[in-house]
Symmetry: C2
């Protein structure tokens, strides 16, 4: 049954374990390793879908917690799923909502069954169980869904981390059982939805439903403990998921620890399935992890940093593999700089706009500033992965 959810074809593996592959999903093929821009509320903040396509983004992420609260997963299902709702034709991944329930929501009460919480928007009371998270993700219609997991606070003791991991494993079993039962129920897989009856699909940019089911990925937890990470990976592999994520990293621990946890977890995950590190990282980190054998990553950093006026550039613009430098566009010394953000970058922002103009937009609070900064940072991340893929293919 698992085989019909995705196809993962590895064309080359390097000595260091990095893999060049193609990941086939219901809404299309993704060349990996891949960076996934984050579109929290069914929009990559401040960037229009046509621009994201033109940047070459192959797959984006949407947040289950946010979309469940607003506009609601049932409304999105009636609209045909997130793809059709936001007019995004390429693959899309949803997280489980777990991370946001544990980081954004208020007054959480965790039981074996699930988590009761209050919305950060209006204080209303909600309950997420593994089954409910899966039902919401199926309604949203993601190509890849994530098992519902507990995210332990950090730092946490070994005992606390072990207990949380064990709960995550039980929830992974329940997520998987629900997914097996309901994965054919995504809005785009169904015949005769309200949308189709209204004849809207003729106008739609979306391709016809795919013969592939959506995938479910299990999430390895275990905090910063080597033995727990190993145990978590082994336990999830026993359950047999189409792909595996490594969660609970980049939560404040030193970067060496992040790398160590990724390296040892990868050893215990199957080599023929996609491996996804959630919520990382800086451009040099995503390059490093991709070369270690991570196939997928997502991070809000390019867009969030862009909105705060922080831009990623290469130290030597002519050498795209040189060190990553952060440029603070607010700084006075950009005010008369007629050059682009990064003279070696081919993005539409660097082709057209000067640092002086971008500083003016940012200083004036003009919305175009956040947009252009986000576009450049996304281009920088995507360019980095394009270069890494080329390198992994030839090594």
């Amino acid at each position: 049954m698992v085989g019909v959810s995705l196809r993962f074809d590895i064309s080359n593996t390097t000595a260091a374990g990095g893999r060049r592959a193609e990941l086939n999903l219901p809404h299309g093929a993704v060349q990996t390793p891949v960076f996934m821009p984050v579109g929290t509320a069914a929009t990559v903040k401040a960037v229009e879908q046509g621009v994201i396509e033109a940047l070459g983004a192959q797959i984006i992420l949407a947040n289950t917690y946010h979309l469940y609260l607003r506009p609601g997963h049932e409304l999105i299902a009636r609209a045909g799923g997130v793809h059709r709702f936001m007019s995004w034709t390429r693959p899309m991944l949803t997280d489980s909502g777990g991370f946001q329930v544990f980081s954004l929501a208020k007054l959480r009460k965790i039981t074996e069954d699930g988590v009761e919480f209050r919305s950060h928007l209006d204080g209303s009371k909600h309950f997420f169980s593994p089954e409910h998270s899966m039902a919401v993700q199926i309604a949203l219609g993601a190509d890849i869904m994530m098992a519902f997991d507990e995210c332990v606070e950090t730092p946490a003791s070994w005992e606390r981390t072990r207990d949380s991991m064990a709960l995550t494993h039980r929830w992974a079993e329940r997520s998987r059982a629900y997914w097996v039962e309901h994965r054919h129920e995504t809005p785009w897989a169904r015949e005769g939805t309200g949308i189709r009856e209204q004849g809207i699909e003729e106008q739609s940019l979306l391709p016809p439903p795919s013969p592939l089911f959506p995938s479910l990925f299990g999430i390895v937890q275990g905090g910063m403990y080597r033995d727990l990470r190993k145990e978590s990976a082994e336990r999830l592999v026993e359950m047999d998921f189409p792909g595996y994520a490594i969660g609970g990293l980049a939560v404040g621990e030193p970067r060496e620890v992040t790398r160590e946890m990724i390296a040892l977890t990868l050893e215990h995950l199957p080599k023929d399935k996609p491996r996804y590190v959630m919520g990382v990282g800086y451009p040099d980190e995503i390059e490093e992890y991709a070369r270690m054998g991570v196939d997928m990553m997502d991070c809000v950093l390019p867009t969030r940093a862009g909105r705060h006026g922080l831009l990623f550039v290469r130290e030597d613009p002519g050498d795209r593999a040189s060190a990553v430098v952060r440029l603070n566009i607010k700084k006075q010394d950009n005010s008369e700089d007629q050059g682009p953000i990064d003279a070696g970058c081919g993005c539409m922002v660097c082709q057209r706009y000067s640092r002086a103009y971008l500083r003016h937009l940012f200083s004036s609070g003009e919305p175009l500033g956040a947009t252009l900064n986000s576009v450049h940072n996304l281009a920088f991340y995507l360019e980095t992965m394009t270069r890494v893929r080329a390198s992994l293919a030839s090594e």
Copy 2:
């Protein structure tokens, strides 16, 4: 001398006085009647320049008061002028700063010489005279500059309006004298600016400097008084400007009064020169005034209304000349509407996104909502003028 500032070629005039013409300016030709999107701070709020180009905008407006305060006209001159600063290759018009000094700035003190005011941004003290307004506009490098005028409060007595108008006329003389002396000093007309020395112009999207000088338009004032409007128009025509604007309208008076003031002022303006009504209006108004013989208009309404979730649509989407209706995207009944804003609109927003999605973006405070709403409204205004031009050409 005046003839070298612009060429205005009228190809047809209707019985009602509407004109189909081509206005040639240093940065290119403009088909009139034309609507000019407002780019206050050298950006049409929330919309990227490439999108504005794709929408077919032929000329945009920038605000002298705002750019003078931030980032400063001297900085912009060193960057090569507003065109190069914001990477906008088509014509651009600047207002005189007068309207903003009288509506936004604090603690104004008006003398024969000019206006002392405090910045609305930081309270700093500044002084604008006709000569200084012209110097700033020349530094910004507009294709069309406006004479510095006093904008009288509304309503104002006949005596108060007459005195203000007389001051505006003296300031128009001084503006014109300064322009005649300095109009060759725009950044793009000068040889050997710092920019050129740095070799930046090779990378630039901007065309080479034009043989045309920038134009100066006089502004007819006179409030809501027929005799004063006539006197103001006649007095300015004696001064001989390349074009004429009608100012001080759409400031709260009934729409019938606006129309009456425009109609009678047009009678007293030369038929062979461009005529510009400042700061109007709703889509049906710009159509009406264009058919009366107004060649140019600008208004913040399409972008400002867009940011507030108000969208312009045709009552009968299939009939592009049917009544204009305002759609409030916030309303609950849009939440599940999978249709576009306006089924007869060809803009990229109506081609791709649903009302349901746009309502979600707006309700969630997502920046893409303001962008897409602004793009549709601009497209609506520009489409209106395209249709009016076709009609004026064939009547």
